[in-house]
C-alpha cells in the first residue's frame, strides 16, 4: 500500500486519522490549549477579582460556571488554573521522561552500570513520595521564591520535584525494552557494519523504545497534574490565591454538599484532559510505529 513519493509524516497522519478517539482527543486538547492560552481574551474577567455581592452565585450569563465563596468567577479561574496545571504537567513529564529514558537506556545497554542504576531506581521507588515532596518544598521554597519571584519560584520547585520523583517507572520500562532489543540480531548487524555504540543507542535502540516511552509520557502528564493538585491541597503548592485545577478542586470540596458544580468544573477539566492525553498517546504510538502502522 505504498504510494510513490509519500512522505513519512503523511503516512503517520493517515494512520493517526484511523484512531477516532485519538483524533477527538487531539481536537479536545487543542481546544483546551487554545482556551487557556487565549483565555484572558476569550473571557476577559480577572480571576482574582473579588465581587462580594455575587458570592456563591449559580450559573448565569454573567458567570457561566458560577462564583466561589469570595465571588470570584469560576470560569476565569478554571482557565487561569489550566495554564498552570498544563504547564506543570508537560514540564514535569518532560523532565521525568528525559531522566527515565536516560537511566533506562544506560542501564539496559551498559551492563556494567546496570546494577548501580537499578538500585538507585529502587531507592527512589522506595522513598515515600509525599513526605519527600513536603521536605523538599519546605527546604527550597524560600530560596527559589527570593530568586525567581513567588510564582516562578514555586513553579520551578514543583516541576523539578515532581520530575525528579516520577522517572522510575519510565526507567524500568525502558531498561527492559532496551535489554530485549539489545539482543536482537539487527543490533549485531549494526555492529557488524561498524556502527559506533552511541549511534547504535540513538539510531537503532531509541526509536524502538519510543512506544513505551510515549505511553509513559501520557501517563506522566496525568500523574503530574494530579500530584500538583495534591500538593496544592496540602497547602504546599502554589500560593492560595493562585488558581490551579488541583487547588480549585480542593477548594470546591469544602462546598461539595451545597455547591457540587464548583468541584465539578476543575474535576472535569482534569479528568477530560488526562483522558484525552492518554488517548492521544495511544493514537500517536500506533501511528508512529511502522510495525503497527501498516497492519
Amino acid at each position: 500500500m505504498t504510494r510513490a513519493g509519500e512522505s513519512y509524516w503523511l503516512d503517520v497522519w493517515r494512520q493517526f486519522k484511523v484512531h477516532k478517539g485519538a483524533l477527538a482527543s487531539a481536537a479536545f486538547l487543542t481546544g483546551v490549549i487554545v482556551a487557556v492560552a487565549a483565555g484572558p481574551w476569550l473571557w476577559p474577567v480577572d480571576p482574582q477579582f473579588i465581587d462580594v455581592r455575587a458570592r456563591n452565585a449559580g450559573m448565569s450569563l454573567e458567570h457561566p460556571l458560577g462564583t466561589d465563596q469570595l465571588g470570584r468567577d469560576t470560569l476565569a479561574r478554571v482557565i487561569a488554573g489550566g495554564r498552570t496545571s498544563l504547564a506543570v504537567g508537560v514540564t514535569a513529564m518532560a523532565i521525568a521522561l528525559v531522566l527515565g529514558t536516560l537511566v533506562g537506556v544506560l542501564a539496559g545497554y551498559l551492563r556494567r552500570i546496570d546494577g548501580a542504576l537499578m538500585r538507585l531506581t529502587d531507592l527512589f521507588l522506595a522513598l515515600p513520595l509525599l513526605p519527600l515532596l513536603l521536605v523538599a518544598i519546605l527546604l527550597f521554597r524560600d530560596m527559589l521564591r527570593s530568586a525567581f519571584g513567588p510564582e516562578a519560584g514555586i513553579f520551578i520547585l514543583i516541576v523539578a520535584v515532581i520530575g525528579i520523583t516520577s522517572w522510575m517507572q519510565t526507567a524500568r520500562v525502558v531498561r527492559g525494552e532496551v535489554m530485549t532489543i539489545r539482543e536482537r540480531e539487527f543490533v549485531l548487524a549494526a555492529r557488524s557494519i561498524g556502527t559506533s555504540r552511541r549511534r547504535i543507542i540513538t539510531r537503532h535502540i531509541l526509536p524502538n523504545v519510543m512506544s513505551p516511552v510515549l505511553v509513559s509520557a501520557t501517563l506522566g502528564i496525568a500523574n503530574a497534574i494530579i500530584t500538583e493538585s495534591a500538593l496544592s491541597f496540602l497547602g504546599l503548592g502554589f500560593p492560595s490565591d493562585f488558581p490551579t485545577w488541583g487547588r480549585l478542586l480542593y477548594d470546591g470540596v469544602d462546598y461539595l454538599q451545597r455547591y457540587p458544580e464548583r468541584a465539578m468544573a476543575p474535576g472535569l477539566a482534569i479528568s477530560l484532559t488526562v483522558l484525552a492525553v492518554n488517548y492521544l498517546g495511544d493514537g500517536l504510538r500506533d501511528a508512529l510505529d511502522p510495525r503497527i502502522r501498516t497492519r
Partner: protein, 323 residues
C-alpha cells in the same frame, strides 16, 4: 595458490566463561583466505563456525567470551589487537557480514534505505545524495525491482528473500574485500535459496570479493565454494579443495557427514547414514581427538592426543592419526 593471503588466522581459540562452566568453543584454529576465493565452512550446529568468524571481527561480547590467538592478520593488520574504533572502521567497510535470519537482522523502525546508506555515509563519508544513488544501484544489483521507491519502505514490507537481498546489498555497500556469510540461506525456502546462491555467484564475478560461506548444507558448498573447511567441536578437522573433498574425503567425520546427505545425483539409498552419538561439548581444552567417541576407526592414540592437521594430498590436509 601462492598469492599473499588476505586473511590469516593462526591458533585462534575462543572460550566462554560463565559462573559455573567454561566452554571451549573454538580450539586452535588455523586457516587462510586468499583474495577472491570462496571458502566454505561446514560443520554441525555448535561446531564453532559462527563463533570463529565473530571472534575475528570482535563481535562476541566479552565477557563471557575470551579470545586468544597467535596471529590474526587481515590485509597486514593485526585484527585482535586493533583498538575498537579501528576495528569498527574495518567491519562493514573492508569485511561485510550477512546473518542467518533476514527477518530479524534489519531494524524494524528504520527504512531500508537508511540502513543501506548508513555504512556508506559512515565509512566512505558519502553525502546523503551520493549514498542514496549508490543504495539504488545496490538494490538494483541484488535484484530488487523498483529500487528507488523501495528505499523508503520499512523492512516489514519486504519478504524474507527480499530482506536477505537487502542484507547482501548492505554488506556489499562499501565494496568489502571479504564477505562473511553466516548461513544466509538456512532461513529461506529452497527456491529463494537457489536465487540467493545464483545472486552471490554472479556478484562474486562482478565484484570479485573473497567470500567465507558458513553453512551446514553440503549441497550449497558443492555449488559455490573453491575450498572447504570442515569443523568439528571447535576444530578444523579437514581442509581441501571442493572437488577433492567430495571425491576423496579423508577424515572419518567428513565421510560420515557426506554419507548422511541424500545423494545429489538422485540415486536413493534405503537409509541415510546417521552419525551415532552426540557432538562433543568441550568443558576442558581438548586432550584427545574430539571425534574419537563416535568414530569407527578410533585407536588408542585417538583418546590420548589431539591430532594435528597434516597434509595428505595436494591442497588437502586432515587432522586424523589414521590418515
Amino acid at each position: 595458490m601462492n598469492r599473499e593471503p588476505l586473511l590469516e588466522v593462526r591458533d585462534l581459540s575462543v572460550s566462554f566463561h560463565s559462573r559455573d562452566a567454561v566452554v571451549h568453543a573454538v580450539n586452535r584454529v588455523n586457516f587462510v583466505l586468499h583474495p577472491g576465493e570462496v571458502l566454505g565452512v561446514v560443520g554441525e550446529s555448535g561446531s564453532g563456525k559462527t563463533v570463529t568468524m565473530m571472534a575475528l571481527l570482535g563481535l562476541l561480547p566479552s565477557p563471557p567470551a575470551r579470545i586468544s590467538a597467535e596471529a590474526v592478520r587481515f590485509d597486514g593488520q593485526k585484527l585482535l589487537s586493533l583498538p575498537p574504533d579501528r576495528l569498527r572502521a574495518i567491519r562493514g567497510h573492508r569485511i561485510g557480514f550477512i546473518f542467518q535470519d533476514p527477518m530479524t537482522s534489519l531494524n524494524p523502525v528504520l527504512t531500508v534505505g537508511y540502513q543501506i546508506m548508513e555504512p556508506m555515509r559512515h565509512h566512505l563519508g558519502l553525502t546523503r545524495v551520493q549514498a542514496r544513488d549508490r543504495a539504488v544501484e545496490l538494490l538494483d544489483l541484488v535484484g530488487i525491482p523498483d529500487a528507488a521507491r523501495r528505499l523508503n519502505d520499512w523492512p516489514h514490507r519486504f519478504s524474507g528473500g527480499m530482506r536477505q537481498r537487502v542484507m547482501i546489498a548492505l554488506a556489499l555497500a562499501c565494496d568489502p574485500q571479504v564477505l562473511v556469510a553466516d548461513e544466509p540461506t538456512t532461513a529461506l525456502d529452497v527456491t529463494i535459496q537457489a536465487q540467493i546462491l545464483e545472486l552471490v555467484r554472479s556478484l562474486r564475478e562482478k565484484v570479485g570479493m573473497a567470500i567465507i560461506w558458513i553453512t551446514h548444507d553440503l549441497g550449497v558448498i558443492a555449488g559455490l565454494a573453491d575450498r572447504v573447511m570442515v569443523m568439528y567441536a571447535g576444530q578444523i578437522v579437514e581442509q581441501a579443495g571442493v572437488g577433492t573433498l567430495f571425491e576423496a574425503a579423508s577424515h572419518p567425520y567428513t565421510r560420515a557427514l557426506l554419507g548422511s546427505v541424500p545423494d545429489a545425483g538422485g540415486v536413493r539409498r534405503d537409509r541415510l547414514m546417521a552419525i551415532t552419538g552426540q557432538a562433543a561439548v568441550l568443558y576442558r581444552p581438548p586432550e584427545a581427538c574430539p571425534f574419537h567417541s563416535r568414530c569407527d576407526e578410533a585407536v588408542a592414540r585417538c583418546r590420548e592426543e589431539v591430532p594435528k592437521r597434516h597434509s595428505c594430498g595436494e591442497e588437502h590436509d586432515v587432522a586424523c592419526f589414521r590418515r
